[in-house]
Symmetry: D2
Subunit: 408 residues, 4 copies
């Protein structure tokens, strides 16, 4: 017998190796819908601040499957049965949980496919793949949509301790080099137990959870909501808005074939259900977006050109951060200062000077809570289980205000 | 005083942090010529085999500067003086040593700018930057071209133990997850000494050098010359050849503005000296190449379309490897087998079925040798200093033969 | 010139390499007083819970010197001058800050040299070494005792961000394998600045400090105050108490020559100033203590024998933990339960059943505060600088109660 | 259900976590015979050169069990059945493979229990434990002694790719900080296959094996046979020889109770089979040996005292290394030079000046070979499978000569 026939081993700098069993799982990995993810960076433009952050959604999805294997193993060893069909289902569900992401999705979701979120698109992709693979994704879809009886399987895919979060915090921390975000996901998984078909964490793991929530908070402010990262993302969002605006007003601008349908029309909910939409969407990746930006540097619209130069040459908008809102006066002062230099209209200046609000809470008490299991069988919410005020503090949202203005 | 004014600190997953002093060094980093490197992957298509390998030439160049800082520090501590101008020069030289690389450069050098190597282009870039920066790169260029009196400065930039090799082996090993390539570059640098203005390695470092040469060999066969990596690279080379062939024969194919001049004409040595060429070249990056490939999937030329599908959907050519040459007969057998399925002419089938030879020797005795310094002041070549046959074996080139045939 | 003559390079799994310049620093390292530290574990009996925790005070002291080198480098690069004498002084001060530690010092300080703390002993050692080395430690001692004009030098040796803490958190985390304690000490040091001759941390470093304080808290509860670690330490303390009690009452028990003077008499402040005391103290290490325990397993005193068996065979006292004090009743219930089995007197049972209180606050607002420097030159205490309640919470002490009872 | 009841999780800095199932395995770990290993350093006196090398045989044995779990998992996934009894047996066999080691065993085996090797003692320990545990170690012993039908189980315990080697190379490399020794043991295990009930390695793993053999070679010369490490070990050997010599000649020297029987008599094969011997042997550990040395510093025998001072104060014998034998003349010259200073007799001077030969070959062709399995089913020895001369070179023994002389 030959292991090569049984499974495929991939090198992964984060976990050492990722092993994928041959069968439907590997077939899906080889499908063009999934291969596309290898051309979509997990953290979009973050590499402009953290030069190592070029890792892809493809890699993240495989990392999630690796952690899912560990979670299944742990629960099996404890005597909880998860049958073969469920194992395959929950692995497929996590493999595909992000399949609906487009390139630079934060920017894209707010400028191109505005009202639809990637979870909804992931579901549509799964349904199409289910057709192609003769119903083999039924269980995966049930788990993904929280329709499967054993609720903990859904929680492994989507909850405050799901494999998605456990992988991305570690992976993003690894590739950015921000060691503050390192989480001990191996230990957290080993501390899993089940109560009433729900994932709980054993008492011994309480410090690991506390550390996880804190790491999450630090990663948000140091990476995901880093002021320069936000600056790049809002810049990109405005580029795409401007490009769409020009298309709608009859300007003929360069576009790749794949991106074209998303610039010349509004994509609304009814449209996204069609197979042709799915195939269009499945063709766009980082290359389309960036190539357009590079071409638009030379576009005759001065606003589009200026915005694109700003990203290509990394002359990103300057940012001020504050814990309280910037006043109308302060914004207008900035606006008129830059308007004198740039000469654009009031309306047009909104591409250049604007305020944004960002909010984060590391532990969201409105969602499924993280429950700690004590030796006597008692359960407590993590905010009560931890022995000081830290975790309670983490559940309060922190809000910051950002004022953006041109680099020039 | 504020450190922010003195230097910029970047997170690097490989070394923790990279510190760049403000001044000419950081000005060059911010120049569009250099920023372009953040859109060029260090290892081209290798990510199709090692999914973590998306790191860029930008990141590698900064890593080299970090190691150069360490080398300067070590030599200073030993009492060798390197003045400020030399320090700046040798750092600029290593920062820019790869500025002449294009996207997917192995493929590109053999299909688009065929006769010119990236070292020559790097030199041209440096000369142009020297003009722009009023002669501040004079020393850097002298060191790069080995015209500077203190020869060891050139050796730090280009030799069998230069900062380039020390960084890329470690960095490529890190991002691919191939732990066999980990080298102890920190230790090697600490073992540097000078004899007659040349870099030598102290006796205590002999095992680190041995390990370095072996790691280099293993990285060649496991990564750089991995059969599937080669398969992807030759595929890309053939795509570009075919595209150029079509352009030369009057076909109208899609191209980005940046890539266009390189497809419609032959780029020869006289052309590359012009500023307009340099500006053209400095605009192409991974995005141009991949976007074209994505568009060409739908090109009406069936050969171009088929080759491009093969790369986009990761259906890479199958490869056989052998220590001896494949016979004409074996190649022809393969060729006619696939010709029946594909229906192309003999000439056209060369895009699909072909043999390639690859050679590697980890230690090249024809170049500057690695010399070991003994406590008694004696010097020995590493092949004689090591206490067994290993290193001698490493200096013999190993040759392998690869036979490629379509996936389908 | 030969680097071997200039400095000595040691392999360190935590930092890669530690470089020590030849001269007084290396002479002190080679002195028997310092060599003794290689026979004293940094974390005493912690290896009974974390099997990797066998690292020594010797290794930690060298790690501190390594970080001190980095701190000096950072401050120098920013333009603050630290002259050669000060550099040597501050390195010697950190090298020797723990020289006064005895073996298993927590247990020892409470049972053998009860009223004297290791800082005082470190000072006495330094004074003796200063005599031996002809006054070369004058500056080091001034810095250690906070008598040196440039106060920040003392802060690098002793404060809430000193090299001691930065090294031990990282090192203890490394060897225990408790990843929750990993701190980014390299980054913290790079964020240092000076205001009014005091160490402050630049604004960009605020999250690293936050993470550092949290890691410190987690290390306290997961390692230093882990209930089983405490169990082993209190057991050892009671063993030494019992042994001393027996000696004082005329029993003839085994003892090594080095440990003997500390068992047969009370060591009080006047005694410790004599050279003969110092030489006695400098001879005891982990080997004396453990060898005695091994011999005492067969002592005819049943209490001493039972306590020693408990540690040698790792049958450690059972522990209950609570956030509120255990009642007299509960303690007495435990006591009488075990008294029936063991048959010792009420007084003697106190070796076996007892309550202890442990308190920790990660950030101590009564000491020198950690100050954050803003771009506008303003300074804020870390508890005000951080953008949520976390850090404030960390400055509140947490108290836990532990009830110990025999394993048997 | 509670995982705590099913298994125990230990933090391990090398692998993250080691999981031990409750039952016979954990019972053996808690037995005093095994607990003793936590007081025996894996690398003896190596910490005098590599200050991190304080890890124990206890820790190594647990690491081996962890790798054995992985090997079992890999073979199971490939469809080879290993039943519960065999799994328990092979884990117990690897757990106990080193139980027969004494403290500083290289020194001890040549001076105290001269003719008996630790493998033989391990077997005796296992037999005694088998009696105590009612025959539960029958399978483990059969596997250990290569009497079990499925030969590959023995190979996992003892062969050129056994879990012992895979763990100790990685662990020793980790704790010494010698990165040259890092091996990818996780990958090697994943490449295992079986042919005729023997472990073979799949073709894809050939470079990992090559790297493993080279790492082994480098660890031998950089760590295990490092000249200063050897110096310390031979010094210790001579100390024990001298102590035994004094005892045999009626001198009354200090000794711990546990070590005493090994100094006052010769331990020969018949003696070691008795339970009383086993219990004596199971009581000696690093603490006995080092405490004696510390006491002997003050012994009235000037030779014993001098040798002991040399180790306690780290004034280790000076060493010359050569690829050819040192001549009688050179040795005598050294001897008479030092004799003048020390004033001992010719016979006595042999404790101070002597020559030793050390030999190592990374791959031993006289033992079970490492076989590579090709896709076509063919098998090749690794020396033929590797594509250059390296591995063949590794199978040739390298011999070095060491001349020792006093530090003073």
């Amino acid at each position: 017998m030959n292991n090569n026939q049984v499974s495929k081993i991939l090198n992964d700098p984060v976990y050492g190796f990722i092993t994928l069993r041959r069968g439907i799982l590997l077939d899906i990995v080889e499908h063009p819908y999934f291969q596309r993810l290898s051309r979509i960076k997990q953290l979009g433009l973050t590499y402009l601040v953290y030069p190592g952050a070029h890792h892809t959604r493809f890699h993240h999805a495989l990392g999630c499957v690796h952690l899912m294997n560990q979670a299944i193993l742990t629960l099996n060893e404890m005597g909880y049965s998860i049958n073969d069909e469920e194992q395959e289902g929950v692995k497929l569900a996590i493999l595909l949980h992000d399949i609906g992401h487009g390139p630079f999705s934060h920017a894209l979701e707010h400028s191109i496919v505005s009202e639809i979120q990637h979870e909804e698109l992931s579901h549509i992709f799964m349904q199409q793949l289910n057709k192609d693979f003769g119903g083999k994704l039924d269980t995966a879809i049930a788990i993904f949509k929280d329709k499967y009886p054993k609720r903990f399987l859904h929680q492994l895919v989507s909850s405050q301790l799901d494999m998605d979060r456990l992988d991305y915090l570690k992976r993003d921390s690894f590739f950015t080099g921000v060691s503050e975000g390192v989480v001990s996901n191996q230990r957290i998984i080993k501390m899993f137990d089940l109560v009433n078909d729900e994932i709980v964490v054993k008492e011994k793991g309480v410090y690991s959870i506390e550390k996880f929530l804190i790491a999450r908070r630090l990663m948000y402010w140091q990476v995901y909501l880093h002021k320069t990262v936000l600056s790049a993302e809002f810049l990109l969002m405005n580029i795409l808005k401007r490009a769409k605006h020009l298309c709608f007003n009859g300007h003929d601008i360069f576009t790749t074939e794949a991106l074209s349908p998303f610039l010349i029309q509004n994509v609304d909910r009814p449209k996204i259900k069609s197979l042709s939409f799915l195939n269009s969407f499945s063709r766009i990746d980082d290359y389309d977006v960036f190539t357009c930006i590079k071409e638009w540097v030379n576009d005759k619209d001065p606003i589009l050109s200026l915005l694109c130069k700003s990203i290509i040459n990394r002359k990103l908008p300057k940012v001020k951060v504050s814990m309280s809102e910037f006043s109308e006066d302060e914004i207008n002062e900035n606006l008129s200062f830059h308007q004198k230099k740039l000469g654009f209209s009031n309306e047009e200046m909104k591409y250049f000077v604007f305020q944004k609000t960002m909010e984060n809470n590391a532990y969201d008490t409105r969602k499924d809570k993280i429950k700690i299991l004590y030796k006597d069988g008692g359960l407590k919410d993590i905010t009560e289980a931890s022995d000081n005020l830290n975790v309670q503090a983490l559940s309060k949202p922190v809000r910051k205000y950002f004022l953006f203005a041109p680099y020039f």
